[in-house]
Symmetry: C2
Subunit: 422 residues, 2 copies
């Protein structure tokens, strides 16, 4: 017999018919003459019953939580059963028995992370990981539709360019190397070959941070586009965010509902998003020019505003060296961070410097070594073009969509300062 | 004006019409009364002409190879022009001038790798990178169609489990950690949550190899599937390979032709692929049981056979510890390598051990430390299930499809023992 997904049964597609399912015991209640086994697969949970007179009764009494089974039986509507349906077992095959499952109610978050290889089976993790996968799928679909190519940059870099203090050091055949934190400098070389490109790749930050928003390894989505200016970049990001949110809301409706996430918020995003300059933002927060917005201030700000907002035109010194100064106000750069209510900073992007003179000036301002940027400088010497790009941490998006409380819940096996296993 | 892709002009879609293009000077020939500029974008190369009486003539004389331009003009059919079409320039805008371009004919492979950030603009690299991107796209599309989820494993691992000698060591907040070489052990935990999963992620091998087939960092595609047995795994891989080959052949027809790759070979793959046991393979090669096939022998073998072939049922000791012994001949395992003519080993996969007793036995055979595999052993103790999976190096596929001679040509910025930049 062909195995059916449990959700199909719960959707009423097999009522009064014989089906075969396979999965794991989620809950069990053994009575004298009848036993109830809730069975889970990734799509849902269904009640099965088996009676004392069944040839498989004896076997069934060995089942405990997380045992794996294949069950054949007839589907009946039954309002007393969780989900409203039940399978009357005609045939039970035990695939694998289970020892006493270590995860019981009221275990600490820390314990659940220690047994992540088992906790990953929980409804919560299954649902979040499905949302995560839908985010990846949505990103690929968006860029396919737009005619972009997926292209990668190396994870190993020779020089500790930016942010040296948060770089992981690797022994690279006896030489010192560092793990990459962004594909961007490479992407800027690649757009001269293929003008519209994106990537999703792991990114590594040795940040001694214990916030609920930081991982030592996260998945970094970045895009870079030749001939794109700052205004086009903001519009592109709006379209991107709305597409991903709608895609995930449609594909993961059930998962989001089970996670008690309000799907309407994702379906009803309105564009254009609000725009606010850095200058307006600090005024609103009662701060002075030159003050670097903290994570907390950003979240406060976007909470007040109550909808997604781009903060633009930051002071040049506050942002990355490669960002294009605004010709109307060169002490600021054509950069924008997108803040989302409840999440804070979600994307960061900019138009890039497209001429050698401004770039040299920037290297000086940021006290960077010209030698380390020789090839990057070349990109401004051989037919430079205007170009822009943005990046985001995929886990931030998953947090937002799934309504996860901690970023460690949005990745299968999280890595942080204090956690390197399982 | 809206900019058109050069390939549209070469396809005859704009003949006798005014168009705007943008791109880079590919070749230039300046004569007294007329200048010819071949312009490239990622889609093709077209000839443009400009005459002495043009208002932009003086500007045009500053153009050299790789200068970036926007050009408006009327498209004319002209058999003397490369590609058969030419644009008569009415308006020329120089976006960025170019210094003397360092890449000229007859430069060494080594030099071209030193200036990879510029060589990446070559027709050869543009075409190969488009094939590469199409391979990624095809993989995502295949798994979307099959209902798989894209899920990742961590790059940092605590213990140097297998293949210690080829692991990169990282300073992880003062602790020793290693860069991952496979998601598989984690994937085996994840299928209890989501039964059909895949990933594409960088993988790291500190191999002191100088072959044309090895990179220190490559992109690793892996899939893992709950409830899948060995026979199903081989059929799945056949379907996968044929889908990817056809997708790339259709999407990159022009690129493959320009690379002088025979597209028919990719379109005409026949399934099922041949199957040959390890025992038959060594006989054919005149070797004895226990001989480990070298790369060269594998390529020789598949060349003789002349079509893709699975080599199956290797001796248990020769393969990975987690592979399921064949119940009919337990000194062999249910593993298969797919060999492709001209490429050699392309995929490797197996059914996995699904019970604790056999796994313990394996840990002993392979002299592995039980402690390091505690959580992995757990997967056999709580409702174990049959499952299988395979992996492949994406660059191997790209090499095959694009007909690239060296694996360094299949990745934008290669990393090898001797190359850490650009």
């Amino acid at each position: 017999m062909k195995f059916v997904k449990i959700e199909e049964i719960l959707d009423g597609k097999h009522t009064d018919k014989k089906v075969a399912i396979r999965g794991w015991v989620y809950r069990e209640r053994k009575q004298k003459k009848v036993s109830f086994f809730l069975i889970r697969d990734d799509s849902g949970i269904i009640q099965t019953t088996i009676k004392l007179d069944s040839k498989d009764w004896e076997n069934s009494q060995e089942l405990s939580i997380e045992a794996s089974v294949q069950i054949e039986g007839v589907v009946k509507k039954d309002d007393r059963a969780p989900g409203g349906y039940e399978i009357k077992t005609e045939k039970l095959e035990i695939v694998g028995l289970a020892e006493r499952f270590p995860i019981t109610k009221d275990k600490s978050e820390e314990f659940l992370r220690d047994v992540r290889h088992l906790w990953i089976r929980s409804r919560k993790m299954t649902n979040i990981l499905k949302v995560r996968s839908a985010v990846f799928e949505a990103i690929h679909q968006f860029y396919k539709k737009k005619g972009y190519s997926e292209i990668q940059s190396p994870s190993f870099t020779k020089s500790a360019c930016e942010g040296g203090s948060t770089l992981f050091e690797v022994d690279y055949f006896g030489e010192k190397a560092y793990l990459s934190q962004s594909w961007q400098l490479y992407a800027e070389a690649m757009i001269f070959s293929i003008p519209k490109i994106y990537c999703i790749a792991p990114s590594f930050r040795a940040e001694k941070s214990r916030t609920i928003r930081h991982l030592a390894e996260y998945w970094h989505h970045e895009m870079e586009t030749a001939w794109m200016n700052f205004d086009e970049l903001l519009k592109f990001q709006e379209e991107f965010i709305v597409f991903i949110a709608n895609y995930v809301a449609d594909k993961c409706k059930k998962e989001l509902e089970e996670l008690e996430r309000n799907v309407d918020e994702l379906k009803n995003l309105k564009v254009p998003f609000k725009r606010m300059t850095y200058e307006e933002a600090i005024k609103k927060l009662g701060k002075k020019w030159g003050h670097d917005l903290t994570d907390a201030e950003e979240r406060k700000l976007v909470k007040q505003i109550g909808e997604p907002v781009f903060i633009t035109h930051f002071p040049r010194e506050m942002k990355a060296f490669y960002m294009q100064p605004d010709s109307e106000n060169p002490k600021t750069v054509l950069a924008a961070d997108l803040l989302i209510p409840g999440v804070g900073e979600t994307t960061g992007g900019s138009e890039r410097i497209d001429n050698a003179k401004t770039l040299e000036e920037s290297l000086k301002i940021f006290k960077l070594n010209k030698k380390d940027y020789k090839w990057y400088m070349d990109l401004r010497k051989f037919g430079s073009i205007p170009h822009s790009g943005f990046g985001l941490g995929v886990e931030r998006l998953v947090m937002w969509f799934a309504g996860a409380e901690h970023i460690m819940d949005t990745i299968p096996f999280p890595r942080t300062m204090n956690r390197l296993e399982p």
